[in-house]
Amino acid sequence: MTDITPHGSQPAKLGHSPVADVPHVLRATDTNPKAAKRAERQVASMFLLSIILVIAFIVCYVTIDKDTVVYIPVFGEVALLTIMLGLTSGLSILLIGAGAIQWAKKLMPDVEVVQMRHEMASPADATAEAAANYERGKEESGFARYPIIRRTLIGAMALFPIPALFLLRDLWSGGLSGKASPDEILSHTLWRKGERIVVDETYQPIKPEDLPVGGLVSAVPANLMEEQELSGNLDARGKAAIILVRMDPTEIVAQQGDGWDYQGIVAYSKICTHVGCPIALYEQRTHHLLCPCHQSTFDLANAGAVVFGPAARNMPQLPIGVDNEGYLVALDDFAQPVGPSFWERG
């Protein structure tokens, strides 16, 4: 048995609402059999249309080629199959819902009913019984009487998850004895003395005269390709990527070491010192480099100093020169770790 009653006939305890009930207004479908019949037809039509749309879905799936592209204003160039499958399945599902709700609104009773609530707290006797049971259990187990058992149990329960923490250690297999620690790994890149600077996509070495004043090139070390094949990952690329820009040597205000530019060509890490996005938005007039992720701005004419934004460190600069064939090379690795800061960085 439920304790519901039609709203209004219940002598409800009107705690907050010292007002009478609002009279129930009958709907057209309650009073006019024609309206009820019409609603019945509407609901059934929606369900029927849903069935037809499932068939339409199958027809579309079978007949439309997946590579057919159509142009639809606003939506642009889109795959016809995706659109038709979405339309047919979406509408067939939607109509089931619309039919059910129309049915509920027009044909099912719209009289609100009242159900009483009960306080969430258990009655006092239940609480007393629970307490008595707890006391009995405590007494029978002797939990209070055997302090050594109690304490060792608590200790054991506290410690038993610890092996799980150890098991997580090999999520990274590096850093064991003799191997480099994370901070050492983060502090070194593939750049070393005499390493040629090559264009990042083509791996072509670069001569100073290839780069006009105001020009910018994204570059990587020549040994990167070999390293990527050996390691099978992009880790080295993520640290070694640089950008080369050329400016009038007299415009260079400061750099991170004496004579680190070559005839006005400067090389900076491409990885933002904020949280590590690659940077490529360069404004040649101001020599500013802008990170597209969080808008940290660095001045490449002034040792990569932070001009604006959330980055706290200069962009690391790479000392460069030319080898005996006249190609641009690095003179050393970066003097500081590239990319975002980390605890051990100092």
Partner: protein, 577 residues
């Protein structure tokens, strides 16, 4: 007259079979007629639930085709611009889902849209629960579960859009790596363990996959189940209205009306997601290209629900400390770890803080009108303002380019606004709420202003008032006046020092801040007097209505109706026009 069909006979047999083993009929007897109150805002939580179900269904389908692997392959599918390009298997299989599995793009887009709707509806549902005080006793646990669900929802979304390993998602992961690395002491190791070494490594996509398809959805499913069981056990809250009290629940029975409406609504949500998924492109990963750590697309934007975090990162000043050979990156730590930590902790703790401040220990099943808890409403608006400012920060580059503004000025505007606008909105909201309370009191005492000016025979103008409708009267009088906690005494009558004075005094002050300025409801006698007053007005108007009904007034002058007793004056006025 109902007849029993063979299907029903079979169904009854099955019900008996199950009942003899589980006693399920007792449950059905209690609950088939269970009453659920009706209100459009109660559908917000339903949308969240249904969109989550759609996410589960479409996500399961996607797992059949997606390969969570970072092994480099050469793409050879039907998307011509990327043919022959080296990419991870994750990205390549996502391209296959989009171009070579028929209906694959539909399901992928449905999955993404449903996820966005899931997070959005959870957020708005949370606003509704907050502003109506539905989190109060006995529903505090469910509020905490809700906060956990929102957090998990953000995690599910972020882990999901990071999986395809396209240029945009990879950049998001790179930022995540930078954030983990900023955590003091354990951050660097944490990042190495998560990524299996340096970024990007070759392990992360498969690890993230396990988190995205098992861990997070499993937790969400468990939490949603508990959430619903609690709603069911505690019965739904209801908005105030005629005959609705704190002790009853007024609405439609589960069988059949609520079942048809809620079940039908599932199909509506599902159907709309399918339509949007089919018609509106989202996250076109083929445009971004495969991920490589040295490339980035301009105007990098996360999904909307991560926007506030990105905004916090963008607007934080560039503070970093170096102590004893170690680095503390406040510029990352504060916006990405500390602020979100504070926000979610404060959200979870709010019901307990409010209950402590107000000293309110009673059960609440009748929802508060936001105006009746001005401080709470103010705090809510304040939090939303702060959130929106962070969100604007997340789109500062888009705003800068769309409106041709300097992003530097937007950032500075935001840095200052974080401290100015939320408190301002708090004060403003609170004042508006108190004003509305005064208006409610006014309505109870004098009825509502009908907007008709009445001229009495002796020349006095009065504005006609009309009695409140039954519904409005019920809604307004649903307000519960809670007295602020009284100021404690330093010493008791015997002169013994009150050791808890400091904390009691603070609590009393907060309580006064919370409820002190509330406008109390008039007493029953006052309301009665108000009714009488309104009735008197109505009596004055009665002859006028009769006059009106007889169609003797042909013109209205500026809303002024002329009293039939003043024929001469009426004529005079008509001549003026």
């Amino acid at each position: 007259m109902s007849t029993t069909s063979p299907v029903e006979t079979a169904g009854a047999g099955a019900a008996t079979y199950v009942d003899q083993r589980l006693g399920s009929n007792k449950f059905l007897a209690r609950n088939l007629g269970k009453v659920f109150p009706d209100h459009w805002s109660f559908m917000l939580g339903e949308i969240a639930l249904y969109s989550f179900l759609v996410v589960l269904l479409t996500g399961t389908y996607l797992t059949l085709f997606f390969k969570p692997s970072m092994v480099e392959v050469i793409y050879d599918g039907s998307y011509v611009p990327l043919k022959g390009v080296s990419m991870s298997e994750a990205y390549s299989s996502t391209l296959d889902i989009s171009f070579d599995v028929r209906g694959g793009l539909l399901i992928r887009q449905m999955h993404h849209w449903a996820a966005l709707i899931f997070v959005a509806s959870m957020s708005v549902h949370m606003f509704r629960v907050f502003f109506t005080g539905a989190f109060r006793k006995p529903r505090e646990f469910n509020w905490i579960i809700g906060v956990v669900l929102v957090t998990l929802g953000l995690g599910a979304g972020f882990s999901g859009y990071s999986l395809p390993d396209d240029l945009l998602s990879g950049t998001g992961l790179q930022i995540a790596r930078g954030i983990v690395q900023s955590i003091p002491v354990i951050g660097t190791w944490g990042a190495f363990l998560l990524f299996g070494g340096e970024f990007p490594g070759t392990d992360f996509i498969s690890r993230l996959y396990a988190i995205h398809i098992l861990l997070i959805p499993g937790l969400i499913l468990a939490m949603v189940t508990v959430h619903l069981i609690m709603v069911f056990t505690q019965k739904h809250t209801q908005f105030p209205g005629p005959g609705r009290t704190n002790d009853n629940v007024v609405g439609y029975p589960l069988m059949p009306v609520y079942m048809a409406k809620a079940g039908g609504f599932f199909f509506i949500v599902f159907g709309i997601i399918a339509l949007v998924g089919g018609l509106v492109s989202i996250n076109p990963i083929w445009v971004f290209g495969p991920y490589t750590p040295d490339q980035v697309s301009a105007a990098t934007q996360p999904d909307w629900y991560i926007g506030w975090l990105d905004g916090a990162l963008r607007t934080m000043p560039n503070l970093e400390s170096h102590i004893a050979g170690f680095t503390l990156s406040w510029n990352v730590l504060v916006p990405a770890v500390i602020i979100p930590g504070i926000i979610f902790t404060a959200l979870g703790a709010y019901p307990f803080i409010e209950a402590w401040v107000t000293g309110d220990k009673s059960e609440h099943h009748l929802l508060d009108r936001p105006r009746n808890a001005p401080t709470r409403t103010g705090l809510g608006v304040m939090a939303i303002t702060f959130y929106l400012l962070l969100f604007i920060g997340g789109g500062n580059d888009l705003i800068a380019s769309a409106f041709n503004m300097s992003f530097n000025s937007i950032i500075w505007f935001l840095r200052i606004s974080y401290f100015v606008l939320p408190p301002l909105m708090f004060v403003l909201t609170r004042r508006i709420c108190l004003g509305l309370q005064r208006r409610d009191r006014e309505k109870l005492l004098h009825g509502y202003e009908a907007g008709r000016i009445l001229r009495l025979p002796h020349g006095e103008f009065i504005e006609a008032h009309e009695p409140l409708s039954v519904k409005e009267l019920a809604v307004i009088t649903s307000k519960t006046d809670i007295a602020p906690i009284p100021t404690p005494q330093k010493t008791d009558i015997d002169g013994v020092k009150n050791k808890k004075y400091a904390i009691q005094s603070r609590r009393s002050k907060l309580s006064h801040f919370f409820y002190g300025e509330n406008v109390p409801l008039p007493s029953a006698a006052e309301i009665e007097a108000g009714q009488a007053h309104v009735a008197a007005d109505a009596a004055l108007e009665a002859p006028l209505h009769a006059y009106e009904d007889a169609d003797q007034i042909s013109t209205f002058h500026g809303g002024v109706l002329h009293h039939p007793g003043m024929a001469a004056t009426n004529a005079e006025q008509q001549n003026e026009h």
